[in-house]
Amino acid sequence: MNLKRLLCFLSLAVATPAAAQTFTINPIGSIYSWLYPTWKCVKADGSYCGATEMANPYYKQVLILSTGFADSERPAFWADFDKTVSLMTYSAGTSWTAQRASQILYIGYFIPGGALGAADAVFGGKVAQHPIRGYALSLAQSAVYSQIDSIRYWTIPQLRPIGAAVLFNTFQTPVTANASPPSLVNKPFGICKYTRQDLVERQAYVPTHELAHASLNFLDEYVEQGFEDLSMKQIDVATPLVLFDWTWGGLVNAVGNFLGVYDYNISEILSNNGNDNMATVPGVTTVYTPGWNGQWYGYEGGMFFGRGTWHQAGSNLMNGNNVMRGWDDGFAYAHSPSQQQVVDNAFDGGIRRPNDRVRNAGPMNGWPLAFGSSTHVMLFDGDKNHHFHPTQQYYVQVGWYDRQWSTCWWGIFPYPCYNDVWTTAWNWLYPEYRSINLPMSSLYGLARLAQQLVCAAGVNEVSSNGGTIRLCDQNLDTIANNFLPTLNFPVPYQDVSVPASQWFTTYWWRFATWNGRATSGYTGWSSFYRSF
């Protein structure tokens, strides 16, 4: 029996079910590709899963890819893959990966390549010098999404991850792990990065926490040191630099950039934008919806700042112990009630609350400068970009006092008289994608802070001159101001065209949302005045 046959026999002896793996049949491939699979699917208990389970929507898939591993390091990758699964299942308290262990399929996919930082490193993975704090993990996120599409096309047609992770082959420390929440990067799932050292040093925390960003769209509830007393709302001094982009159309674009007409804020775009566990107000439920209880986020802090952002009471996986507003405001392998709603929604389906984080966002009440045949009103909807129950429809009401004339009599004399009759028109519309630009070149001294905030939110790549740049490992001091990229964000705002054409009339408007299960209550009435 020659060596090849022996290895083949051995590989079959340790083989997992055929449906669960793909062997790369490569006549000149290494011994490792014979002994170790390119991909495998396991359940939380380590048992193998196959096409049937992967095709079953009851199960949710977590995908783990590799970077910085040579082909000879397959054993190391698979060992740490198994370790990740085990830690997330058995060492994560009541976090989502532990409580929903029976529903999670872990799919590992090994891609050999150069060492981290080398030109041929998979996804361009590297440990980059962070411009502000030590080192951070960096890769080309677009390459990861492309790779996943390719895997789905060629190898695993049932691949539908709720979150993806890339395991970096390094033991360097300290290195900041990070992840992108899907709603901020406008993708169906996010990507998180962690290292082999993270598994050694911080055990279950890093993959469970980072994958919660990428899978459940959560934001960090902990606070950056030095920013304990500062408020997220203070960065709204940069809101005048925000530009409405092409997604808004001409008129709104022109009017919207005229600050003061509409009520939009950078703080809301970063931390009240579909990430369920974070808001910029404690009273997150702004409208009363019959049959539903509202939510109150009583603890202040999160998304970098100690003030101006709010999260719900209950120590949890996304929190930290740096700033504690109460005994139950710290880290725990657990979830706050609102986080738990999201976990239940993600795994069981069924929307748990109305999209009731809404506000009329302009024109400012009584705005006197509505001209032309229609006026654009703007809606703020904190759940417009919710990852699990985005708003499906908006219901808008517009009312005005209609002068209805009739013939009255004064004795025997007829004369025209009128009644002001309240008239209401109603319409519905689908949400449409809307985004804004924030040119970093206009931020001057705030550019580094903006970079840090955006990276903390998980936005690591930005488009620039037709390509993409990895924002989070750029030293902005070395880039000429004119070449700084423009940040682009999906926003929680929606414009509605109102055909209010009657001269010298005050119009009133309000709106509600429908998320597929519940219709929210209506906002209060706001007004604008149509002159001519």
Binding site: R133, V237, R307, N365, T407, A425, L446, G524
Partner: protein, 256 residues
């Protein structure tokens, strides 16, 4: 007195009264009361007074009525043409849209929803400040302060500044105030007023730091500094605080 004579003495004043009534109730008048409570319904005399009864007069009035109604219905038609449906809905409650603080006694939750879900105009800033001070529920106090912060007007900023000195220290609403104080730029007189607050012993240390941070952010945004006259009036500790927050905003440090 003959009928003709009676008419001569009563009709002209009545016509004048009718004309002024019509003008006062016309939509033009609404311009000055955009946020005032709208009229639920009302009747008004016509612009044209009658001088004689008869078929001609009646048909003239009816023609006028038809013409005005056609104008009114045009708006409804435009909505319908644009895909809207005319529906029945209750009109806005005048007290609620005026943010009448007296509602705090009986309808605080409704008032809070109105505040939290609309964009309030600058002339309602005083009402909001009253509500922030007098509301029973913390949620309403906070909503009022937040709403003031969303108004980008001098009146609102002045009310916020007032609240900084009147709301009890340590309350949720008071904690919201300082981060919402924003000058347009550092040459703005409001920036000078805010700078003076850095030496105000009525503020706590966190509030002073927040105000300094805002001034730093505005300075970095515009690449500008507070006028030297203002800086000279500040204590050395206030100037040092400004330098510290500017360094923090520039991220001139290594955070762990």
């Amino acid at each position: 007195m003959s009928f003709r004579r009676a008419l001569r003495w009563t009709l002209p004043p009545l016509s004048l009264l009718a004309l002024s009534g019509w003008l006062a109730s016309s939509p033009l008048a609404q311009r000055t009361q955009q946020t005032a409570a709208p009229q639920m319904s009302g009747t008004g005399p016509a612009a044209e007074s009658s001088s004689a009864a008869g078929p001609d007069r009646l048909s003239a009035v009816q023609k006028f009525v038809a013409q005005k109604n056609a104008e009114s219905s045009r708006q409804q038609e435009e909505f319908v043409r644009a895909g809207w449906t005319i529906v029945q809905a209750p009109p806005p409650d005048p007290q609620l849209i005026a943010l009448d603080p007296s509602l705090l006694r009986t309808r605080e939750a409704e008032l809070r929803q109105q505040i939290a879900t609309t964009t309030v105009s600058g002339d309602q800033a005083a009402h909001l400040a009253t509500i922030a001070r007098e509301a029973q529920q913390e949620a309403t106090q906070v909503a009022a302060v937040e709403a003031l912060g969303r108004i980008r007007s001098d009146e609102a900023q002045e009310q916020l500044e007032g609240l900084l000195h009147t709301l009890p220290d340590g309350t949720l609403a008071r904690r919201e105030v300082a981060p919402l104080l924003r000058p347009r730029d550092l040459s703005d007189s409001r920036a000078a007023k805010l700078a003076m607050l850095l030496d105000d012993s009525g503020l706590n240390a966190v509030e002073r730091k927040q105000i300094a941070f805002t001034l730093s952010l505005v300075g970095l945004r515009d690449q500008s500094q507070l006028p030297s006259g203002v800086l000279e009036q500040l204590s050395s500790s206030a100037r040092s605080l400004l330098a510290q927050t500017t360094s923090l905003a520039r991220l001139d440090r290594s955070t762990p």
